[in-house]
Symmetry: C2
Subunit: 335 residues, 2 copies
């Protein structure tokens, strides 16, 4: 993850680059709007491929490549306020998210239809990050045009008494995506490695053996048709302070603030060390980690949107055929 | 449910009425857009109350009153292509849904926040109707601006082997909304009364005793803080034929078509009789049925949106206070 220093507030890209991004987004929008009710399925597919390609071409380096954790990468070296690979500013970023969310919605519809017809393709997104890193907001923005039919969100808090009576994956398995669905985990089984380590609530032997358990678990998910995208939103400690103050100041945000958030903040460095180890032990070829700079909300949302769209693209989904005899169906309808 | 005959395609309202609706919607939109980041919470509340009132004032008779099933009402007498109570046409209807979905999204955020802080308020929407009555599309449109965080959709198909080994409410209870959440059931426990009756797969004594079981179940939901909205989307048999032909013609819709849909179509009158009984036996003061004309999709969506918004309004939700000492939190943050 090479570092690029920028200076201006919204990403610091120059005017020409932003203009180029805007033009590409115009092209993508035109392709998206070109698919109307009257357009044939073949034409629609061609337009979708075009808009998809244009949206991807905005990035100077695909986030999937840029953000993927590689051995030797160090979490604390990632500049949280950087916007690598996206040559536009906040405005272009938000427009990108808008267009991309439409594409994601289309892909979700396709995957759902296939799920109804027996396909096991499904998708799990795992969101991790310190408090106020924007996990909740990402869900809302990336799935802005999504349909509740086909998406399942679940936040994992401290385990309940019942959950503690089972192995740590028990509550995770209950929330996995059904065939054709997307599940979004706000925190996940990784909390059961990081928390006991940071707070010393369980011996090292307990949480350390979970690396292997988790890797096996995720491999079995992937081989059974479930794509797994693991995202860590990285913010600076200063940025978090600002967001916490926002939550205290704004009566509509106070419910998000919990005093335990300050305990976690006090152990910032312990958390970073624990996550560094998680990436080293569990970033696999089948379920890699992506470490995403998130001090600029619009940027992390654009990245997650692109990661998700790219994953869908590689699935090569098509509309399922009719599951019965067409002539018979038509004649029964006319009877 | 008195009948009003209209003639034009989109609802048949006259020009003046439509103009009035457009003006009211302009006012609602102005109030909604008036709440920006800089607006105080008190002002935001006042603006929200105003937009909410304006949106409701569009209706000449509130859908909650108009569509609620009353003893003596007959399902087969409801004109499925009518648009009672809404003096606008398709354009105004769609604009209404847009504005209303923003309000619903705001209410959902409020209820979710309260759920996090220990409130048991939650909401269950039950959607029933013949195939192609628009149950799926309603979800997408009514929650157009919704956040996956806080909404749970579940479709109930034919029971699985595992589900059949439990009582009929077992699978229902697993999908109920958590505190602060909205759950949308696409079909529900009512299928376990209607299906065995129509197809004769279980003796009358079995499905008939379920009326009481269901009423008790729903009463316990409501008394524990879960509002229950039960909606039956009624379409004409001719309208269904058109939608089925659409599904056969359009390659992106073929996955929705199943030959068993034609079996249900063949027993149309039996279904109507079964549902008529369901309404008579299970439309209670705490969980009434609403019978909604649905040949015009925009109209049924507007009605469901209004029913939902009205329910939220009566909850009188407010933002939860801080759950810790503010001064202490601030001084710890500054340390």
């Amino acid at each position: 993850m090479p570092k690029i220093q920028r200076d201006s507030e919204d990403g610091g890209s120059d005017k020409d680059a932003r203009k180029r991004v805007a033009e590409v987004l115009d092209g993508a929008q035109k392709a998206i709007e070109g698919a109307t009710a009257g357009t044939s399925v073949a034409e629609r597919l061609a337009l979708a491929a075009k808009s998809s390609e244009l949206l991807s071409s905005v990035w100077t380096l695909p986030p999937a490549q840029r953000m993927m954790f590689h051995p030797g990468d160090r979490l604390v070296d990632v500049p949280a306020d950087d916007t690598p690979g996206f040559p536009g500013g906040k405005g272009e970023g938000q427009r990108f998210i808008d267009l991309s969310s439409g594409e994601i919605s289309r892909f979700m519809g396709l995957m759902y239809a296939n799920g109804v017809k027996g396909s096991h393709r499904r998708l799990l997104i795992i969101l991790q990050g310190m408090d106020a890193s924007g996990k909740g907001g990402i869900v809302r923005h990336v799935f802005r045009q999504g349909d509740p039919m086909g998406i399942h969100y679940h936040g994992f808090g401290a385990p309940s008494e019942e959950e503690l009576r089972h192995d740590f994956l028990w509550r995770i398995k209950r929330e996995l995506p059904r065939d054709g669905w997307v599940a979004v985990f706000d925190r996940s089984h990784y909390e059961d490695i990081v928390m006991p380590r940071v707070y010393g609530t369980q011996p090292e032997s307990v949480w350390r053996e979970r690396y292997d358990v988790v890797n096996d678990f995720e491999r079995s998910l992937v081989t059974s048709g479930c794509s797994v995208i693991k995202i860590f939103l990285t913010i600076s400690r200063d940025f978090q302070k600002g967001r916490f103050l926002d939550r205290l100041d704004d009566p509509t945000k106070r419910w998000k603030f919990d005093v335990s958030d300050l305990d976690a903040r006090d152990r910032w460095d312990d958390y970073m060390a624990a996550w560094q180890d998680v990436f080293e032990q569990t970033s696999t070829t089948y379920a890699p980690w992506y470490v995403v700079p998130a001090d600029k909300r619009w940027y992390s949302r654009a990245v997650v949107s692109e990661l998700l769209r790219t994953t869908f693209t590689t699935m090569n989904l098509t509309w399922p055929p009719l599951s019965c005899d067409e002539d018979e169906a038509r004649s029964r309808l006319s009877a």
